[in-house]
Symmetry: C2
Subunit: 113 residues, 2 copies
């Protein structure tokens, strides 16, 4: 078996640094392909191919504007990643002392009840 497809989910799509770079640029607003090409210094086919992957996992959407295609970030597709990794946030937030952790958990339990 080979590695999972990049188009399997956001985790795989986003593992590629160039695709994260594209996402970061699109975070400032929608852009045509050529803008990304210039801004990122990658070749046009590469950008188009990366955009295809991002489209297939729902991370970007596109609409036509004349002969151009405007790409827009669909940030909510990043949510599964955020939700998963957030669980581990306290691992590096040392302000969560042992006591704080207990208190936080107690509050969480209350919230769930």
């Amino acid at each position: 078996m080979a590695r999972a497809a990049t188009t399997l989910d956001a985790f795989n799509a986003v593992a590629e640094p160039r695709r994260r770079a594209i996402i970061d640029v699109l975070a400032d607003g929608e852009r045509p392909v050529n803008d990304l090409v210039e801004r990122l210094g990658m070749t046009q086919p590469q950008v188009s191919k990366h955009l295809r992957v991002l489209r297939e996992v729902g991370l970007v959407s596109a609409h036509a504007d004349g002969r151009r295609r405007i790409y827009r970030l669909e940030g909510r597709a990043l949510r599964p990643i955020h939700d998963w990794v957030k669980e581990y946030e306290r691992a590096w937030e040392e302000r969560f002392s042992a006591l704080d952790e207990v208190l936080a958990e107690m509050q969480e339990d209350e919230g769930e009840a």
Copy 2:
């Protein structure tokens, strides 16, 4: 060129679902390899190989305990992922929609007036 190495960074290491599963189990506390094997229903070599990848990106550490090796989660290696994805959090928190933001600001201004 092929895909980036899974050991390149946490993004790539974590793209594999089985490795996330290992991380999720280790979140409850350190465990020897065999525990992971039983708990996750994967073969022992597979677990060892996934652990190797996780070790190489600093996501887990290991120490010997007799003939066993106890693996521990190093959650702070997930921080780059968290930091990156957190930037996009408001994309799905609809309470931060553009309109809501404007309305909230107007109300704040009224209150101050």
